[in-house]
């Protein structure tokens, strides 16, 4: 049952016992404020006293959802129109991009999914949804020059027929992502699927830990596979990071990863060394004619250079994020397709499952391992000049890998 413009006006006359003129005025306000939206000519928010169909608007979502829905809507439009957005839409899109940068993949995925799902809908439903969306955003994000009627109301529980709402499809998609994530990581979860060659806690054999240590000549297959799950997985594994660095060196873009690591060091390092580290970064990566100059857009560069005058822990954040996403979108996918990665995957070992001992009640000897505190102490002793009392600063030791990579970057 689709109310027509005429029906709405008649209803208002009856409900409020008012004249046609007043009812037209009130009805017009309802459309203007988004309580009701037209299915014909959705860009013209007017109540027509004729056979034009209208519909009631859905509830507005929470602020966070709103940001996502807005971004997804623009992403869809961007995809559909292949980048031909209106100027104010483009601006809004880039603002949103910065705001939820870290879940951008999710947004693009959802936008594509919605476009695909809409193609499968009945034409009538599709038109309704498109009009609904268009009207919604017209009011919530009006084009420049159009009077902005903020604060759309919530009410008007509406159509019971095509339960198509902006929000519930979104929620179902999120649930789907949970399922996908657990499927992807299932084989990597030792409690669920066991681990090869055996779980050390059960078999008392530390082979699993030895094979997956930071520095091994050949990594395990599961470990190399994991690098392909996300860019973060690759960077969090010291060996993965090293391999990626080797790849970038071949591509002559290793300065990006070096820059990112130097920024991480600023963010997580000692407060007392922030100024010194920021200066180093400027000298090596940002100054005009720098040895390892990184390619950042002019706006971010200006902002960063301004911030460097009064360095603080987060001064490199914008630039770091820019380079991170550059690597993620560009170098990382290429690395996964490269021979370097494919060879690594091919020669990666798949450990044999340890045969269960015939007498399972016999316990193996449990070997102890060197404490990380000891390893760090030895590294420090190797460097320390005079003998000195064990100092509180000893604990602030950069790991061997980072140190080596940093030296590589600065050499």
């Amino acid at each position: 049952m689709l109310p027509k413009g005429r029906d709405i006006i008649d209803w208002l006359i009856q409900k409020y016992n008012v004249s046609e003129e007043e009812s037209l005025h009130v009805g017009g306000m309802l459309v203007k404020y988004g309580y009701i939206y037209p299915l014909k000519e959705p860009r013209s928010l007017v109540l027509r006293p004729d056979e034009s169909p209208y519909r009631f608007q859905v509830s507005r979502s929470s602020p966070i959802q709103y940001v996502y829905l807005d971004t997804i809507y623009l992403a869809k439009k961007n995809i559909r129109k292949q980048g031909e957005l209106m100027e104010y839409e483009k601006e809004r899109y880039s603002v949103l991009h910065k705001r939820i940068n870290h879940t951008w993949d999710f947004v693009v995925m959802q936008a594509r999914e919605q476009l695909r799902a809409s193609k499968q809908r009945r034409k009538a439903d599709r038109i309704v949804l498109e009009c609904q969306e268009q009207a919604y955003w017209l009011i919530n994000r009006p084009p420049p020059g159009v009077h902005n009627v903020l604060d759309v109301g919530l009410e008007r529980p509406n159509n019971f027929s095509a339960r198509v709402t902006l929000v519930s499809g979104f929620i179902a998609f999120i649930y789907f992502l949970f399922v996908k994530y657990s499927e992807q990581y299932l084989n990597h979860d030792p409690i669920m699927q066991g681990c090869l060659p055996s779980n050390p806690w059960i078999s008392d054999d530390t082979a699993h830990w030895t094979m997956n240590a930071d520095m091994v000549p050949t990594p395990t297959r599961l470990r190399v596979e994991r690098w392909s799950f996300s860019f973060m997985e690759l960077l969090e594994d010291s060996m993965g990071r090293r391999e990626f660095m080797t790849y970038l060196e071949k591509e002559f873009s290793a300065e990006n990863l070096c820059f990112w690591q130097a920024c991480e060091d600023v963010r997580h390092g000692e407060s007392s060394r922030i100024v010194e580290k920021v200066e180093d970064i400027y000298k090596n990566f940002l100054a005009p004619g720098a040895a390892r100059w990184v390619n950042i857009d002019s706006k971010t560069m200006d902002k960063t250079l301004e911030g460097i005058r009064h360095p603080h822990r987060f001064v490199m954040d914008d630039a770091q994020m820019h380079i991170y996403f550059l690597m993620k979108k560009d170098s990382y996918p290429r690395y996964l397709k490269s021979d370097l990665y494919k060879n690594m995957l091919a020669k990666a070992i798949v450990p044999q499952e340890t045969k269960k001992s015939v007498f399972p009640f016999m316990r193996r000897q449990r070997h102890s391992s060197p404490s990380p505190a000891q390893a760090a102490t030895q590294a420090e002793d190797g460097q320390a000049k005079g003998a000195g009392q064990a100092d509180i600063d000893r604990i602030f030791v950069i790991t061997e890998i980072n140190r080596r990579t940093q030296l590589r970057c600065l050499s």
Partner: protein, 415 residues
């Protein structure tokens, strides 16, 4: 049983009437906000067509898991309150009511370091990412960092560095990505970020209306947020840079004792005194699942996910550990073993096991018992083994008998 949780301010006689009036207004406002809240939930529910377990219907069920204790760490003289894993996947730091903080190699069950804090009820402890230090605190309102020295003669307490200072007890602490910064939560209702080197306060987080009991750092790419849970039944997500609360969730019916991020960083689980665990999604900005059972009536003290996020482990005040299927919402295992309430639970960094600490003075490292799943491969061997043993035994027996018989005959002949 010591109860620190903030319940209300003491009444000063002169201000009694004012206080009563204020309380009445507050009560009225509270009922109004409750009504609005339930109305909002009603509207939300209308939009919320689908549940997580419905979407997960096609996913293969898990069947029954059998969990087994692999190590028991004995050494604390009193209730174990907190524990944390080292990044080397085998070492653990634990703290207890009597002020002792112990570092164990859980694999061998050897104690490697022990520190006695100057206060009792050390409710928070954390291992530094480098493995070279531990942080702890409790009733002393402070968080102190102890570098781990391997010199047996050296007194660890001498090297102690006081980092955080709160105005009430320390409930939780965690190092951020490096040894240089610590995040703390306190009974004074705030969280704070500290610089370890200088002891300087970098950022404070205000927003909870009562004690903050737990926190967890997000594993996200930008690494800038964390979640906290408190006695005000709220779970808040904070931006570490600005100190702002960016999201808040209030669906629990009692104190939130534990919060833990889902491995992807897009959601987090919470455990509460209302005997439920709940899953909240940050993108959907809502609660997406409740893990509860009518037979479970005791509060949850601690929660953590398995590596893939498919399993949620919960340590309960009724001495048990319940394991939940995150997607389907069902319980897949229950583990008995502790003789008093489970106060802390963490899955190891590589997900090979999980550890629990309890008021029964012990810590346990537990795992899935693969016996049942591997029974089919074991059975032929077992049968072969049993048969061969039997054959050996009988043959030995007959040999022995015949030997005895031979000897007796020889003996008789001798006579």
């Amino acid at each position: 049983v010591l109860n620190f949780k903030y319940r209300g301010s003491p009444l000063i006689p002169e201000m009694a009437t004012q206080e009563v009036q204020l309380n009445e207004t507050l009560a009225h406002l509270k009922t109004e906000s409750e009504t609005l809240k339930s109305k909002l939930e009603e509207e939300r529910a209308k939009l919320h067509d689908v549940e997580l377990h419905q979407v997960a219907e096609k996913v293969e069920g898990l069947g029954q898991f059998v969990m087994k204790t692999r190590r028991t760490l004995k050494g604390h003289g009193n209730k174990v309150l907190c524990m944390d894993w080292c990044k080397d996947k085998r070492r653990i730091v634990s703290s207890s009511q009597d002020g002792k903080v112990i570092v164990w190699d859980a694999f061998t069950t050897n104690k490697e370091h022990a520190v006695t804090m100057p206060c009792t009820w050390v409710m928070a402890c954390a291992y530094a990412p480098s493995g070279c230090a531990v942080a702890c605190g409790g009733l002393d309102n402070k968080c102190s960092v102890y570098p781990l020295s391997l010199d047996k003669n050296e007194n660890l307490a001498a090297k102690k560095k006081s980092v955080a200072m709160h105005t009430n007890y320390l409930s939780a602490c965690s190092f951020t990505n490096s040894d240089m910064q610590i995040l703390t939560s306190s009974g004074d209702g705030t969280c704070a970020l500290w610089d370890v080197e200088s002891g300087q306060l970098l950022q404070s987080f205000h927003g909870h209306a009562a004690d903050v009991l737990c926190l967890d750092l997000a594993p996200s790419e930008t690494g800038n947020t964390f979640v906290s849970g408190g006695c005000d039944k709220k779970a808040n997500v904070w931006d570490m840079r600005s100190g702002q609360c960016i999201q808040s969730f209030e669906t629990h019916e009692s104190d939130i004792n534990s919060v833990r991020y889902y491995p992807s960083g897009d959601a987090f689980a919470s455990g509460s005194d209302d005997a439920t665990c709940r899953l909240y999604d940050l993108r959907a900005d809502r609660e997406v699942a409740i893990y509860s059972k009518e037979s479970i009536i005791f509060g949850v003290s601690s929660v953590d996910f398995s590596l893939s996020g498919r399993l949620l482990f919960g340590g309960y005040n009724d001495y048990t550990i319940n394991v939940w299927d995150v997607l389907k919402g069902t319980r897949v295992s229950i583990l008995f073993g502790h003789e008093n309430r489970v106060s802390t639970l963490r899955v190891s960094p590589d997900g090979t096991a999980f550890s629990t600490g309890s008021w029964d003075h012990t810590l346990r490292v537990c795992d899935d018992c693969y016996f049942l799943s591997n029974l089919t491969t074991l059975q032929p061997r077992v049968t072969f083994l049993v048969t061969s043993c039997n054959v050996c035994c009988f043959s030995l027996f007959f040999f022995f008998l015949s030997d005895l018989g031979l000897r007796m005959r020889t003996q008789r002949m001798k006579w």
